[in-house]
Amino acid sequence: SQELEQSPQSLIVQEGKNLTINCTSSKTLYGLYWYKQKYGEGLIFLMMLQKGGEEKSHEKITAKLDEKKQQSSLHITASQPSHAGIYLCGADIELNSNSGYALNFGKGTSLLVTP
């Protein structure tokens, strides 16, 4: 099975600072998803990466997938308190039946942004 390792497990940064979260897979990634989880709000979809070397940005968040498609990073520029939460990376896992796919997730990175 595919293992997703996230680092760091937790992060405390001062408002305005940049930060990076990493997600490493034991196998080639064919679809890599970044979600953010806040208490009471479930998982919020951030970005999906497919191709080696792909990079996507949304507001102050940039995600990249390396050329070998085994590692992804999420970078936040000039962090704000609103960025606080748990960031999860997920990858497609093929199910045996129905030709379907579910997601396998890392354990998450907990981010706290202090004033």
Binding site: L43, L95, Y101, L103
Partner: protein, 116 residues
């Protein structure tokens, strides 16, 4: 509604009781997923529904867990004879269900289950 909804938001039950959790997917989404998130653990896939096909139950941890879905709408996850290790956040997600990877799943807010 605009997103996936789940009920109840929180559930406290006694060991040995049965519980039923509900999920309303996004309208038009044929695929529906249940996941479990235990404290300090990542999300674990439980079960997958696609249209009217038989569900993929490969992630269910024991036969105390079952789920149903009415057509392409509401789903219920039932846990019988609950145990303390069942305490977790149960998350439901839905997607358009084109049976291809790289398709975004949209998650509900979850049901927080505590078994005393």
């Amino acid at each position: 509604g605009a997103g996936v909804s789940q009920s109840p938001s929180n559930k406290v039950t006694e060991k040995g009781k049965d519980v039923e959790l509900r999920c309303d997917p996004i309208s038009g989404h044929t695929a529906l997923y249940w996941y479990r998130q235990r404290l300090g653990q990542g999300l674990e896939f439980l079960i997958y529904f696609q249209g009217n096909s038989a569900p993929d139950k490969s992630g269910l941890p024991s036969d105390r867990f079952s789920a149903e879905r009415t057509g392409e709408s509401v789903s219920t996850l039932t846990i019988q004879r609950t145990q303390q290790e069942d305490s977790a956040v149960y998350l439901c997600a839905s997607s358009l269900g084109f049976r291809i990877p790289k398709e975004t799943q949209y998650f509900g807010p979850g049901t927080r289950l505590l078994v005393l």
